[in-house]
Subunit: 260 residues, 2 copies
């Protein structure tokens, strides 16, 4: 902790990437090292335990995002340098949201404490890297969690994504209590895409137990039981194909070559 | 170059991030160091020049993506370890696509050469980090370049994104020869969103000359002349607001707190 309070408080919002030191950026490492306190979900804080000696740790449980953000903002207003960490990218469904929400509610002046966001490799990028090259055309990310978003809004986005022929990345696809949303998403997509549309499932990317599955919309149903909250799905668009265990969305360059 | 050819070829697909050493991941650095040859667009290869001593460099010009990919695949089939680099994330509109396309065309067996993709921080993440927390709800990425994708497909995606109330990230928004697509995108979005929907523009993220602008859909028209191919736009959804120069999309956590 900072005891002289000579500076005016700083919030680092830090994405840790998929959970391996190999993908922690130097900027993220520097932010953690510079911080007096580190705030985050227990599993993520543990993940960077080696960097945290001598710092105040505020490890909380899942579902306490606003409380965590409020604690971090308190510490920053008190003159500390505080790192708020998320797995993946803090700016994609991560802790950046709750922190800015708390700052807004406290009528933050936009300058003190200062906020510096350090992006990390997100789940959609880890999944894409392990599957092949699925994100070479326009894509969208949709979270199937209806804890904070009404299902009707999610359903509307699934329909739009299907109509727009986007490659679709699904976050939070299924939990023990939310077991029907993924099948409903599949049903909506099948109204606009063929049964053989490639689907990639990546669980625990770059972690022990990493699992990569490539199937199609038809057979996705069979794989549902193995899908959980740490699984990311990538569903191809109408041009995506599978080549020898790799999911490929062409960019269109081949047309260009043949015209050359 | 590898002269003993004792191994069977390896393609590293490496995302360099937004162009600063501070965001180059250790995995990306290790891949570059392990490579015999590095293939990429000249400006990106120059960006990591310090890491490339003693390696064969294949620096090409923009628009030669398939040729670059073919050269890299040739070198890998000859037994070399080859890094193919893209700015941002190689897996998002990057060189992963052309490389997998060439491999497919050559009836690659899926194993030799082996392919290892190393994600980097993409333009959408850099832009979000510099703007605030715009990507806290479902979002999509759309490239406005119609060089390789028919405009009708892009238009259809813009309509779908607008209907689905996605936060929209626009890549390749405008060049000297493509100056009307951004205004057309604005027109489509205005059919579904209010004129005061926040719009963030980020140019040269994390580079010298970085420029960040926050405006709204109504005034985006005035900013068009300053938009170019290295500008990324983030357009809010119906809930996005601006607080003291920061673009915030709430996640919905505040409802949860008030219920607690």
């Amino acid at each position: 902790m900072n005891n002289d309070k000579s500076h005016s408080g700083l919030l680092y919002l830090v994405g840790l990437g998929p959970g391996s030191d190999k993908v922690l950026t130097p900027a993220a490492r520097a932010a953690l090292e510079d911080s007096d306190a580190v705030v985050g979900f227990r599993a993520y804080v543990d993940q960077v335990a080696g960097l945290l000696e001598g710092k105040e740790l505020v490890a909380m449980e899942l579902g306490q995002e606003l409380e965590r953000a409020a604690k971090a903002v308190d510490l920053a207003y008190a003159g500390n340098k505080v790192a708020v960490v998320s797995s993946g990218d803090v700016g994609i469904y991560g802790m950046a949201g709750p922190v800015f929400r708390v700052l807004t509610d406290r009528e933050w002046d936009g300058e003190t404490p200062s906020v510096e966001t350090v992006p990390g490799v997100s789940a959609l990028q880890s999944a894409a890297a392990l599957l092949g090259s699925p994100l070479m055309q326009d894509f969208c990310a949709i979270s199937l969690s209806d804890l904070l978003t009404p299902w009707e809004a999610i359903r509307r986005r699934l329909v739009a994504a299907a109509q727009g022929d986007f490659v679709v990345v699904l976050y939070n696809p299924r939990s023990r209590r939310r077991d029907w949303q993924l099948l409903e998403a599949r049903r909506i997509l099948l109204e606009h895409r063929s049964e053989d549309t490639p689907v990639g499932l990546v669980r625990d990317a770059y972690r022990p137990g990493q699992r990569i599955t490539i199937t199609d919309l038809k057979h996705l149903e069979d794989h549902c039981p193995e899908v959980d909250m740490v699984t990311t799905l990538v569903i191809g668009n109408s041009t995506t194909y599978v080549h020898r265990g790799h999911m490929v969305t062409p960019r269109g360059y081949e047309k260009k070559l043949s015209q050359a």
